[in-house]
Symmetry: C2
């Protein structure tokens, strides 16, 4: 058994947090590969080290530069001192400063937070330090080069019993050796790639929360934590706006069937959330999570006997595609078809699309509305339990919330409903109450 | 004010029925144009005159021919005698027999029921008899030639105070004068065309039922009658399998905004069902009707991140279109898209379509199921009343009926749900109970 442990910025913000991380890692010899982020905020008004690095890169005056550079150094020196480590980063700071004077890339500069933090953590733990620039390769678009990375990284990890591999960056896959950062997802992606190539059994993702919440805490007060979630559910909630793991970061480990365990560095005793490919564990509740997004527009196309026109739906979608617009859903009644799109993307192309629809399918009428919110109720437990839809709609009816759209395909893993924007929060609260509080 | 009155076959099956029809027409001088069907069944085991005419046309022996020809004559002679009319149809019978010997068309023969019944009814009422062959023109495909018909028929009707115009047929629009029947909808279409061109205010459609029923009486015992229904609702229920008026028959009058009143010849005092373009009348119940169809298949396509592929949905529909298959609905979840099609149409093309889908959109998986029934809950009242969806789903949950699919577009005039075939009848019963019995 072996594990990858990835720690977020707040888990490594200062020496006290480093000590917690040390205890977590040392308490379990299976925790072999450690992926650190750059130091995050120590308190609400604090600045993340990565943000300081951006400020350094974009500094307009020498004074400005030195102010932020010193603040950045201070953060690392404070940690080293707090841990009473016998480690000097002065050479490193000089190299970075020189590189900046010579006009190095943004990616190089902003990735130094992870690099330096990794250096400290490796020294503190007594683990080998692996610089991702030697083992993780990224293309120009910021995506990881699977073939090259997997060949080199898996070899390296198989020879290394314990190592720290900083998150967020690697080097360009063109052989230039230039530092390149991931476009999105950052250190979570690194953790995922290391988990895959380290052939580990578990990817622990340590953060400052005790797992994923069933609903957005800005909408529902103190929502429960999800105990076990499948990748599919995670992806669905994430797609519908839940701020869980970045979706891109999930795919490398998902392919390998490696579970991800979301844990809280500040409360390691909490159960956290386990993300798995599939599970026989009965979910705690019928629904696993609720998520939603606002800002959708509906384009309702009416035409008598449209169902007898072969190609009608395809032509409608062709018009949207011709204007490079993707659609979210296409519920249909009898003689009506509604295309749901992102309002912001739609608004500029609105008149062109309307003209295109009139030309292509000669509708009797087109009705536009632009204040739709979509809410997804997600849960593998829905398949086994009848009446979930009834409970969702009863909960909304009780609050006098009118449903503008319903979409449930035969996957039975989610129900998607559309309500007016003004009912977005009340609807989520009502569904949470029905399935979690009253259950 | 003037009205078209169309009478179905059972309303004109014998002399007693003719007397009821007489009383109905004579009780209201606005009933100017009368469209009769051929005599229908007088009792359950009886044969309709139109069916006798088919037997005559397809008779294989002289004996067979004479047997059915005499039965047909008998039907008309019985009516004439029962009404004590001074009318002889002997010349007509001779003409038909001669025409048959000379090898006339099927359309000519089977339309003689309406023709002869129209002759009798005109004589009985003292109305002018208009032969549709002179005023209604039909193309080779059995559709009415709008331009030619409207020009000639409207002129004729404007000069005629009271007339009988038999239903079901006209003549070919190629100038040949050959008798041609409508492909579908029969006398209802004639009534509709006469209503339009007679510029009447109401189209009364007299049958042997007291209007349209909220649900199929073979499923729900003694369902209530729908008092007022809009064309749109009618079309939706009819599309979803309710045996109401044939949908084609509705379009000519609908365009003119002429209401249709469905009445019962045997119970003229019953209110019947009024079909209108739109109405401010509050519906009696939140829902106007329930209808459904069995025999659908679902093709569920799963692919991670499909939503980010512009053109995904269009490509899926293109595959179905390339195989000349129309789809009923396309509900979508997150990463899943389900295409619902008629099982019978789908089954022959199944493997080609699956191969096409794999080639075009490279899905992660495709799941087929083939025992879906679709049920539509239709009602203009749903727009104003919240919680309709909740009540539908609660009613189904109470009966332990699992919902495989839900589709509600933003028209808010109908909700369509998919259940397994075995739940088709229980679901309709449950919905009827919730909205009609318990209301």
């Amino acid at each position: 058994m072996s594990k990858v442990v990835k720690f977020g910025g707040s888990s490594l913000a200062d020496a006290t947090q480093f000590q917690k991380v040390y205890n977590i890692i040392k308490s379990d010899p299976e925790r072999r590969f450690v992926v650190p982020s750059a130091p995050g905020k120590r308190f609400k008004e604090d600045t993340k080290v990565t943000d300081l690095l951006y400020k350094i890169f974009y500094a307009k005056t020498k004074n400005e530069f030195h102010l932020y550079f010193d603040q950045m150094k201070e953060r690392f020196l404070d940690i080293i001192e707090g841990l009473q480590l016998d480690l000097s980063l002065e050479d490193e700071f000089t190299i970075i400063q020189k590189a900046l004077e010579n006009g190095v890339s943004e990616d190089y500069v902003v990735s130094r937070g992870e690099y330096l933090n990794g250096r400290i953590l490796a020294a503190y733990l007594g683990f080998e330090f692996i610089d991702p620039k030697d083992v993780i390769f990224i293309d120009q678009e910021g995506r990881y080069d699977v073939k090259k990375t997997d060949a080199i990284l898996s070899q390296k990890l198989s020879e290394t019993p314990y190592a720290v591999i900083p998150g967020f960056y690697g080097s360009l896959n063109d052989g230039s050796g230039k530092i390149k950062a991931f476009s999105r997802g950052g250190s979570d992606v690194t953790g995922s790639i290391v988990a895959k190539n380290g052939k580990v059994d578990l990817y622990e993702n340590w953060t400052d929360v005790s797992g994923f919440l069933i609903a957005d805490p800005r909408i529902v007060k103190n929502p429960d934590v999800i105990e076990t979630i499948t990748y599919k559910e995670l992806r669905e909630l994430s797609y519908m706006g839940a701020s869980v793991l970045h979706e891109n970061s999930v795919f490398p480990v998902r392919k390998e069937g490696i579970p991800i365990h979301i844990k809280n560095t500040n409360r390691p005793e909490d159960q956290g959330t386990l993300i798995v490919e599939s599970t026989c564990h009965k979910p705690t509740h019928v629904i696993t999570g609720i998520a939603g997004k606002q800002g959708f527009a509906t384009v309702m196309i009416e035409k008598d006997m449209m169902n007898s026109e072969i190609g009608f739906g395809r032509k409608v979608l062709q018009v949207f595609e011709d204007h490079h617009l993707s659609f979210e859903h296409m519920p249909s009644g009898i003689d009506t078809m509604t295309v749901i799109v992102n309002t912001e993307e739609f608004i500029d192309k609105e008149q062109d699309i309307l003209a295109g629809l009139h030309r292509q399918v000669h509708p009797d009428s087109i009705v536009l509305e632009s204040d739709l919110a979509l809410i997804a109720v997600v849960g593998r437990g829905m398949k086994a339990s009848r009446g979930t839809a009834a409970r969702v709609f009863k909960a909304l009816a009780k609050e006098n919330i009118n449903i503008k759209m319903i979409d449930q395909g035969s996957s039975e893993l989610n129900i998607i409903i559309g309500v007016r924007n003004c009912y977005f929060k009340p609807a989520i609260k009502a569904i949470y109450r029905e399935f979690i509080v009253n259950e």
